[in-house]
Symmetry: C2
Subunit: 441 residues, 2 copies
Amino acid sequence: MTALHPLVEVAPDRRHAVAVDRSGWPAVWPDGVATPRTVDEVREVVAWAAATGTAVVARGAGSGLAAAAVGVPGAIVLDLSALQRFEIDADEQLARVEPGVITAVLDDAAASHGLMYAPDPGSVGISTVGGNIATNAGGLRGAKYGVTRDHVLAFDVVLADGTLVHVGRDTIKGVTGYDLVGLFTGSEGTLGIVVGATLRLLPRPVRVATAAAYFADIETAARAVTAITRSGARPAVLELLDGPTLGAVDALEGTALRARGEALLIAQTDGFGAFEELSVVADAVAPLATLVETETDAAASARLLLARRQALPALEALGRPLIEDIAVPRGRMADAVREIGRIADEEGVRIFVFGHAGDGNLHPIIVTERGEGVPAAAQRAADRIFALALELGGTITAEHGVGRLKREWAARELGPDVHALQQRLRAVFDPQGILNPGSSL
Amino acid sequence: MTALHPLVEVAPDRRHAVAVDRSGWPAVWPDGVATPRTVDEVREVVAWAAATGTAVVARGAGSGLAAAAVGVPGAIVLDLSALQRFEIDADEQLARVEPGVITAVLDDAAASHGLMYAPDPGSVGISTVGGNIATNAGGLRGAKYGVTRDHVLAFDVVLADGTLVHVGRDTIKGVTGYDLVGLFTGSEGTLGIVVGATLRLLPRPVRVATAAAYFADIETAARAVTAITRSGARPAVLELLDGPTLGAVDALEGTALRARGEALLIAQTDGFGAFEELSVVADAVAPLATLVETETDAAASARLLLARRQALPALEALGRPLIEDIAVPRGRMADAVREIGRIADEEGVRIFVFGHAGDGNLHPIIVTERGEGVPAAAQRAADRIFALALELGGTITAEHGVGRLKREWAARELGPDVHALQQRLRAVFDPQGILNPGSSL
Ligand SMILES: Cc1cc2nc3c(=O)[nH]c(=O)nc-3n(C[C@H](O)[C@H](O)[C@H](O)COP(=O)(O)OP(=O)(O)OC[C@H]3O[C@@H](n4cnc5c(N)ncnc54)[C@H](O)[C@@H]3O)c2cc1C
Ligand SMILES: Cc1cc2nc3c(=O)[nH]c(=O)nc-3n(C[C@H](O)[C@H](O)[C@H](O)COP(=O)(O)OP(=O)(O)OC[C@H]3O[C@@H](n4cnc5c(N)ncnc54)[C@H](O)[C@@H]3O)c2cc1C
């Protein structure tokens, strides 16, 4: 490696701090870490990397679950977390942000103007907006409000040669040129470094209402999702948890959720018609449910969502969770969950399932013993889950991304023609291959 | 030109029929027209074109306003209007369509399942879904439901060499690979031929409510848009018409709209909370308006929208309309309208303004005498309107596209770096440059 750029630190504690994300992928230290304070510093570091052929791994908060923002030997990690300025234009319902802004900080600031930044991944309190953009993060409100892509208007991007470009525009609509904003969203740091973004804000709903419906089994809960879809309601949140996950939450929180059923659906409606819409939801699920609780008060609503918010911590208390992230057509969710149960039995591993049911997005969580390395049975189970997702007409990753973890499966999902096309696209932006090599496609 | 493919017709009436779109661009006849009945026929024609280096211009209904789907000497037009099969999966809330399906036919079929295909351009009764995709068409419901891009999940695309690929997926979410669906949407037939699409359908709103608010001048109407934005309401439709346009509608329809004010805002709310949300809208605009009418009945709501639906026909009755399509930040709409008035005066042309105010999307319509050629003053006025849009931080085309009409201005809006990047992207998909050459970027 050539002499490092003055902004690149090599102290072991700095390199150690960026060696992993939250996926469980083994730690790999990069050669150095740059933590720019300004866009110009980002340009300087990337231009230096281009000139020296040094690989650059962009990193936000490192909360990713695909081993995309982690160290690579010979590479530097470009830590964008110090770029935290933002401003809100309440009349235009826009925010202009630097990439290191924490998602919840932005949403809280929007709230003080009666607005909301809709994408709310479970990691909203720790992840950065830049990381959300680069993964096209989803979240709980996705059933109604969509994913990060649906809320981004324009970016400032430092390209692989250090050039700064502005793509997209500050107007809600615009069709001049190809959709580069969509292309950068979800590109996992492989096409450029997002150093600024114009985001849409929406009116914060005047009220929310929440229902928790319990079912005898998860197949019935999946049928209830179809019943809600048919009812004409469009909940903002529609989350599904299976019995084992409820049991884990009970163990952590001292609740008795699993006594109420072997599956839980949590639906939240919002806006002017929230209360009426919730009663439509409740009526749709009532014939199938063992119990339906509804709340129209904000604090009580939040309490009903607690089981969902605590699902991952509860599983972390049981061992090491490997978090999968498939999506299937909504009508195939029951098939998916049944097959995942069979896979768990056959491989002798523990798999818990929860997810964003409104999008057909399931997170099967394989919980193994803590310690080094993923057991072979868990790896086999994960591979079978990916194969199942594709067989059911779904995807191997709904929102967490490909990263280093799912490259082979991504190639399988895309097929050789589209995979090759995608690689030619990547080469347009990064002919030297210095942006996050070994990750994504 | 080499011997034509057997599917290419050269009869003058066929070539004549595809020589223009609705932009007023002068007629140019292509060398031939192919009207495939199957996807295989599309592949055959494109493969032949690739082998012979023949240019291919895709065409849906020819309702475009950018001279994008029109003839080019030496080229063939690929008329996709015969590919009209579609099916609706009501449980998954999806439609699988061929590109030639007329937008309103799809929406009507969705309605019979209690669903809706949200994008509804003014041309909904004549345009094709394929054309809507290729232009990323907007529409009246865009203020709440967004544009075509927000409702497309997957495409079958015939690439420039005749290969058929499938991009995207049938699940609501998915992040495997770069967003090719977004890239093809709005690409104006320059990256591939869309021969199939999976589209999202949404629950049809249980009720709609409509307000028509009149104002003393258009600046006040623009301020009312900001007031609505601030109110927390999110109308599905928010349309603006200026006084001269109201006068033209009056002349066509025998109404007396202009007597009520020099500007009209039409807002429609929908969903469970439609009535309450409409009263929030009405309260927000009341202090600014000269008159506010509200309707909560569907037929009466449709009547209030009539002025908007008839705006273009009314102007067509006055002469030849040149339809512009800028967007500006919503807070700059009043400035835009004022400046457009000044441009009209200085150039001595008639300019009418209406548009999708919720998106800051204005359609200044320059009405000239019928006859060949665009008068120099009208052309100067159009150029000044484009320059104005960019000056106000907006775009030269919000939804109609670049086509042959706005290529120079598109290059100006994008700037040299991004323009060059876009052209490198285009070359990845079409290295020979046979797809709609001379159009778009
Ligand atoms: C408890 C928990 C719950 C979660 N819940 C969800 C959920 O509900 N939905 C969901 O989608 N995800 C979820 N995640 C995953 C993760 O939080 C998201 O992927 C998040 O978007 C990552 O943001 P980050 O700032 O941590 O990015 P990082 O992990 O640092 O990076 C992620 C990717 O983005 C790239 N990147 C980061 N910043 C930039 C930039 N400025 N420019 C270019 N590339 C960049 C990196 O190279 C990497 O490829 C969850 C994670 C945890 C730990
Ligand atoms: C009265 C009127 C009102 C209108 N209102 C609106 C409005 O509110 N919003 C709006 O956005 N537009 C509006 N338009 C413009 C126009 O209707 C839209 O641009 C529409 O999407 C064009 O559809 P089409 O089928 O007519 O496409 P065409 O005009 O035939 O083609 C348009 C473009 O799409 C490409 N194309 C067509 N089919 C395919 C395919 N299958 N694969 C690849 N490329 C393809 C063509 O090459 C061309 O570049 C209006 C037009 C009129 C006349």
